[in-house]
């Protein structure tokens, strides 16, 4: 019974399964395919271990017990195969079959203890042979369906794919899956030796191959490394064991320190051997990478010294060609003026570089700019956005005959170049590994390229600057702008002046350099202020009066810059100075003229306003008078009274207007006479309560006047005029029913009175002119009855005659607050 050929295979299968499983898990699986594959491996390992337990059972009962467990795992494998095949083809298959598969597993779990599945165990020539129950046959059939469907799925994907690597990968998995299926067939017949375990071993072997050769789960690097470490440990273990054996045989010592000594000696001897081995192993297992790394290393050392773009380009294409063994390599870089990609360097191609231009605006370049990674010629045919490439692009690409396109991008994603690789010398296609190497290489190249480009830019700039310096010198000598450098102390000394400075100021260069800057100032005390400003702001534009040598005053405009050291200390001032005396004069004249015109305009506007305002009440008076005089109509008594009332009111209005105009005339002439007396504000308010009530019939008036307000020393009638005018305005310019507040408070030796309304407010650009003599109130608020435009300027005149001030605070949409101050006292 203890036959090695019978017991060993499950253990081998388990061991291989475990190694693969660890490799997959160490790789930190992220994708679904990794997980499903791991599940398959776990199942195989468990299956193998339980099989081992079954085969090493002491009696039939025990063997039956284990066999009834192992069948779960046996049938789990086809389900998982099917699942794996679905994942590999991105779930584009029969998903219902998968659900049925899992339901089927549950059924087996339920039926497991009965003899419907495994009836009993018999002892065959090779070991224990399970006799299958009745239910087993449909189950096995379904398992076959699953397995075959899995293979069918993969086969379909194999036929649909035109990518060599993927096809090979799928082929290996199909072969791998066939083995356990064929192996399981022999399991059905108890008389034949059970082969499914070998099938599992073959499955593991083939999937390992697929992984190694065709990048199945992208873990080949890890496997390579594992193999390498295994080799190295073997190479270390052999001399170690050898030495121990020798020591024992010849010296017959077995103390622990001999072990330590051996390790020490080995460590010393094997140290160089180890690194040599590592290099060898790297070469053997990672040859491409090794070559490439060495080449890249050499290239980057050289590239630091290459500042010529063309030379760098040539090195670059040689490097790429050598590392990847391509037949030809082109390097495209953006042209200086248009930015189109043009061939800068090429290698391997027999014919001279054709004039190939990839336009900056072309679809192809745009695509490269927005996508990462390497683009193969095959992909070029598949990517839908590139299907509609214009003919010019297509023919350009065909001319190069590129098989692989490698965009060179800066870290922030800008496209700085393009490498195009021709066919491989071996006529094989480029591997993913090659693609990755190229991506790494292109990252590296982008830095070198940028460096070289910057260097050539700087070089060009230096040349250009030298040329412009020549020109500039002439400019400074001949220009009418004074240019100077002066010390930053309160007096100031010129450190350097240009000829124009002498011309502007009338002093010779030598005189200027020997005198203080303040000697030139019309007001020398202004210098300190200027210093502070320049230091604080670094650069100021400043107008200043200077006195020329001949004594005439000139107006100058200077841009002054403070030159500071790294600690912020001002070293000196650089200035550009212009004589603007003439412009100033012209501007002054222009301003005066403008004011005159404005005054004229306002005067005629006033005349027209006054005339209009005088005519308006007159029109009513004349109109209603002639109405009453109509001979063709007989007016009733009420009508006649009403018309006469209107005539009366309009006559009053006319009188008021005339008195306003007289007030203005007085104020303008400074002839406003005040008869001042001591009054309380409350007193004044009481005396006009009736008039106010009349003015503000449609508004809510609120009085906020403190009782302890000091008494005023004013002309009562004039103050009433001001308050009434402000109240009338407030009522005019705020909606009916809104609140108008009169507020008063003592401020130092004055009383401040405010009239606050909740009207539409006054635009900020208008508040400035509001109290101007000829300002027409109409502009402030359209849609309201207009006055003469004199009210506020009369108020201003009255308040100012009292020695007070009047002003307005207003916010559009919120209302206005007119305030004025009046003097207190009179005792």
């Amino acid at each position: 019974m203890m036959n090695l050929g019978y017991l060993l295979p499950p253990l081998v299968a388990a061991a291989i399964g475990v190694i693969l499983l660890v490799t997959v898990l160490v790789h930190k699986p992220k994708e679904r395919s990794h997980w499903v594959f791991s599940l398959i491996l776990i199942t195989i390992v468990t299956w193998s271990l339980i099989t081992f337990a079954m085969r090493s059972s002491p009696d039939v009962e025990r063997a039956l017990f284990w066999d009834r467990i192992v069948i779960i795992f046996v049938f789990a494998t086809p389900v998982l195969y099917y699942h794996f095949s679905l994942v590999l083809i991105s779930m584009r298959g029969l998903k219902s079959l998968l659900y049925m598969g899992y339901a089927f597993l549950i059924a087996i779990l339920v039926l497991r203890p009965t003899d419907l599945l495994v009836q009993r165990m018999e002892i065959a020539t090779y070991g224990y042979a399970p006799i299958l129950g009745l239910a087993m046959f449909p189950i096995v059939a379904f398992a076959y369906v699953l397995g075959i469907m899995a293979i069918y799925n993969l086969f379909r994907a194999y036929r649909a794919s035109n990518e060599g690597r993927k096809r090979n990968r799928l082929l290996y998995i199909i072969i791998a899956m066939l083995f356990p299926i064929i192996g399981a067939t022999f399991e059905i017949f108890p008389t034949i030796y059970p082969t499914v375990i070998f099938g599992n071993i073959a499955f593991c072997a083939f999937t390992t191959l697929a992984i190694l050769r065709y990048n199945l789960l992208d873990i080949q690097v890890i496997i390579r490394k594992s193999v390498f470490y295994l080799l190295i440990s073997t190479l270390v273990a052999i001399p170690y064991v050898g030495m121990l054996v020798l020591l024992q045989r010849f010296l017959e010592v077995e103390q622990w320190w001999w072990h330590a000594l051996t390790i020490l000696i080995l460590a010393i001897i094997l140290r160089p051997v180890y690194s040599w081995l590592q290099q060898r192993a790297d070469r053997v297992f990672c040859r491409d990478r090794f070559d490439y790394l060495r080449a890249l290393d050499r290239f980057s050392q050289e590239a630091q010294n290459i500042t010529n773009l063309e030379e760098l380009g040539l090195r670059m294409v040689e490097l790429v060609r050598g590392a990847l063994r391509s037949s030809s390599v082109y390097l495209f870089l953006p042209s200086k003026d248009e930015g189109d990609l043009v061939v800068v360097s090429y290698t391997g191609s027999e014919r001279p570089s054709p004039q190939i231009v990839l336009r900056k605006s072309s679809m192809f370049v745009k695509w490269l700019r927005t996508h990462h990674g390497v683009l193969s010629a095959k992909e070029l045919d598949v990517i839908s956005q590139l299907q509609s490439l214009p003919l010019t692009d297509k023919s350009a690409l065909e001319k190069i005959g590129g098989k692989l396109y490698v965009p060179i991008k800066t870290r922030d994603g800008g496209l700085v170049g393009l490498l195009v690789l021709g066919e491989k010398l071996s006529q094989q296609s480029y591997s993913d590994e090659d693609g990755r190497l190229l991506e790494a290489l292109s990252n590296h190249l982008s830095i070198n390229l940028e460096n070289a480009r910057l260097y050539s830019d700087v070089l060009r700039e230096v040349v250009e600057r030298k040329q412009s310096e020549e020109k500039y010198r002439g400019l400074v000598e001949n220009i009418k702008l004074g240019i100077y450098r002066a010390t930053a102390d309160p007096q100031g000394r010129f450190l350097e002046v240009n000829p124009a400075m002498s011309e502007i100021l009338g002093y010779s260069r030598e005189e200027l350099l020997s005198m203080k800057v303040t000697d030139l100032y019309v007001r020398p005390e202004e210098r300190r202020q200027l210093l502070e400003k320049v230091v604080a702001q670094d650069r100021i534009v400043n107008k200043r009066r200077f006195r020329r040598k001949d004594g005439t005053e000139i107006m100058t405009l200077a841009t002054i810059t403070a030159m500071k050291d790294s600690h912020g200390k001002v070293l000196y001032f650089d200035g550009i100075l212009e004589d603007i005396t003439e412009q100033e004069k012209a501007a002054q004249k222009e301003r005066e003229l403008h004011i005159l015109r404005e005054v004229d305009r306002l005067r005629s506007e006033l005349q027209s306003n006054v005339s209009h305002e005088l005519r308006t009440p007159l029109a009513s008076i004349k109109g209603f008078t002639t109405t009453l005089l109509r001979s063709d109509v007989k007016w009733s008594e009420e009508e006649r009274t009403e018309y006469l009332k209107i005539i009366d009111q309009e006559a009053d209005r006319l009188a008021q207007l005339i008195s306003d105009l007289l007030d203005i005339a007085r104020i303008e002439a400074g002839a406003l006479k005040l008869s001042r007396q001591k009054y309380q504000l409350t007193q004044i308010m009481e005396s006009i309560a009736y008039r106010l009530a009349n003015l503000t019939r449609k508004h809510e008036v609120k009085l906020e006047i403190p009782a302890d307000l000091p008494s005023l020393f004013v002309d009562e009638m004039r103050v009433i005029q001001v308050i009434a005018n402000l109240m009338e305005n407030a009522a005019k310019f705020s909606p009916e029913g809104s609140e108008i507040t009169i507020e008063a408070k003592a401020v130092e030796n004055e009383v401040m009175v405010s009239v606050i309304d909740r009207g539409q407010g006054i635009a900020p650009e208008l508040t400035g002119n509001l109290f101007d003599r000829y300002y027409q109130a109409r502009r402030v608020a359209d849609g309201q009855k207009s006055g003469t435009g004199l009210g506020l300027s009369i108020c201003k005149g009255i308040v100012e005659a009292h020695g007070g001030r009047i002003w307005v605070e207003s916010k559009l949409g919120e209302g206005s607050k007119f305030s004025f101050t009046l003097p207190t006292g009179g005792d």
Partner: protein, 123 residues
């Protein structure tokens, strides 16, 4: 049927004056205070005559006049201008082009009725 007259003026006494006198002479009178209201009402009511003050709050009377005279539905409606301002050169030009009558404030009722009748073509 009484002829409809639209009066556009922001001065209450003047509106009253014009309205009661024209009503007494047998016209149907509607009054408004702003140019916008005037244009709106003119479109709705299609008056036979419009009396238009030049100084009205929301827009210049001249603008109203131009708006009326460039409106295809209203261009035939005669407009009499009422103004208290001494006419400027510019005003003269516009008036010469567009208006059908002019009343300088102050005016007598007689003058008013005469202008209205002339503009309506009743005399």
């Amino acid at each position: 049927m009484a002829k409809k007259i639209l009066v556009i003026d922001d001065e209450l006494p003047l509106r009253q004056l014009v309205k009661l006198n024209l009503a007494a002479s047998g016209y149907e009178v509607r009054t408004v205070t702003t140019g916008q209201e005037g244009l709106k009402l003119a479109e709705q009511e299609k008056p036979h005559l419009i009396l238009l003050d030049i100084r009205i709050p929301d827009m210049s009377g001249w603008e109203v006049l131009i708006a009326l005279k460039t409106n295809r539905k209203l261009e035939k409606v005669p407009v009499v201008i009422m103004t208290a301002s001494p006419p400027t050169q510019e005003d003269e030009e516009i008036r010469a082009l567009r208006a059908d009558g002019l009343l300088n404030k102050p005016f007598s009722v007689e003058e008013l009725l005469k202008q209205v009748k002339t503009a309506l073509g009743e005399k």
